[in-house]
Amino acid sequence: MEDVSPAAKTSGLLEMYGKMIMIRLFEERVADLVEEDRIPTPCHFCIGQEAAAVGVCESLQREDTVWGAHRSHGHYLAKGGDLKKLMAEIFCRATGCSGGRGGSMHVIDQSVGVMGTVPIVAATIPIAVGAALAAKLRGGNEVAVSFFGDGATEEGHFHESLNFAGINNLPVIFVCENNLYSSHMGIFQRRRKDNIIESATTHGITGHRVDGNDVQTVRKVTTEVVAEARRGDGPALLELRTFRWRGHVGPKWDEDVGVKRKGELSQWLPFDPIARCERELLEDGVSQAALEATRNRVAAKIHEAVAFAERSPMPLPETVNNNVYRIAG
């Protein structure tokens, strides 16, 4: 056991650190593998945005569900999804969480409430609403969370979903990770005002705009709205302000994919959510060694996961038509 101060322990900050660093190192490793041409599936990295996934998921119970999009490795890991199966899926192996059929953009681990991620922008916004409707109808008290980006709020069904969740008072949290870009387009090329959070007001639901790189605040605010949703007080929209460090797709640093935003990126780098968390932990009395140990533990797991994935078999060609339909009732 590492030497952890009581404050950090009770606040769960070290745990969140562990998850953030797992996401960071996992994706950095995958990024390298992509550069080395060992992974062909298109990967959208959330490096720089780890606090959003972790802060939200830390405020959830196991039975709460999360629904993601194209940039969802972090959501999967933050909710506790199996690391090896994710790596194997990114390698498109038979042992992957989707049996190699899905790739990076279709990951799932229902045992911990990772219900599925899909790359059609905004698709899981109404789908999460449906999961919340299911919870309400069953009288369960689980909450559904949809993760999506600022670009997704441009799809009309973002609005339809907020409205529908509102009138039916559903336990769903809409988590918009506003990283200020949708692919190559900055936010002011796509909307007149930087006011995504105002959609909450329009649709009459709770809304909070939060520093998405501050994992503690993300967790705190999410915990509040989740509690409200759980006790029947309806949905909420969170806007988590953040920035992605890599290109829209692929491992390159942003300036390399044709969109010149080096200046902006250099302004955001100091707000690294992980560095911030490290500072907080050190202030809390956690030792550098403890952080190091966490890091090393995570790195070892990732190493194992790569080994697992690489020695896993490819899916068999003759299975290609399997699971188009579910067989029995």
């Binding site: 059929r101 599925g116 698709a123 789908i127 609403v129 299911a134 339809e160 579910r326």
Partner: protein, 333 residues
Amino acid sequence: MRTLNYAGAIREGHAQLLKTDPRVFVLGQGLWSPWYAGSTLKELDVDFGVDRVIDSPVSENATTGAAVGAAIAGMRPIVFHPRMDFMLLAVDPIVNQASNWSYVFNGAASVPLVIRSVINRRGEQGAQHSQALQAMYAHIPGLKVVMPATPADAKGLLISASQDGNPIVYIDDRMLYAEEGHVPEEMYSTPIGKAAIRREGGDITIVATSRMVMEAVKAAEILAEQDVEAEIVDLRTIKPFDQETILESVAKTGRLVIVDEAWKTGSIAGDISATVCEQGFDLLQAPIARVCLPNCPAPASQALEQAYYLSESDIIAAVQRTVGLKRSNRKAA
């Protein structure tokens, strides 16, 4: 023998599902209206509560997406679109999401969902209130498509669709709502993927979908007077369709007319024709005929509707043409 009309049979299917399966709920437009869905959903909200019979804003995408999500999360929703035309706003959750969900996650999840929509046409409603788009959904792997032609199947297919465990597009036709027929009172299901022979005959096979089955029966009676005995196959399930029954019938008759009241190009009829040509080429004594709508949007004026829609006379004409033809092997080996 208890009879019900087609609309009543649909309502009874819903009621029995809602009664027996707590996972079933209905969501869509017009559910709290006394007339929106004809009487197919009449007062289900009163009987089962507005929590389980949920009317919705004009938001087809989110409503359908929510139904998909509820299905993935373990419920058995029936999402309702009062017209196929409106469902075009919900193609993303149906074609991108519901259809693919089981496959992309390798069967770890599935979408037990009934997507019900209505063909509602004639009456000078015009092009945007008349479409029959079964071919569009039949093209998509992961979906199944059913089109009941009788009251009994209207109920039975709804129940099997709900129990199937996959996303099923269930299409009923408002012009059938008043048709009466025997409908057992108990809860039962009509097998998905199985056609039904509605009339036996040795001279020609008529494969028909939905309302066209009724027209085919009328046509067959007239044809019988002309000494042509038609065998009528009610397709019932459009996707996957029952190749076996069709091929067996064609093996007997050697001739095939396919009747599908949708646009000809890219219709189900083309698909059946191609399949029979592939699987049963040597059975055929004459070319396969398709009786479909012209490649033209629906007109409003009744004078044009009359020219546009199909009736038994179109079927009779196609049968007479086909029966008159013989295989002439110009180049035969």
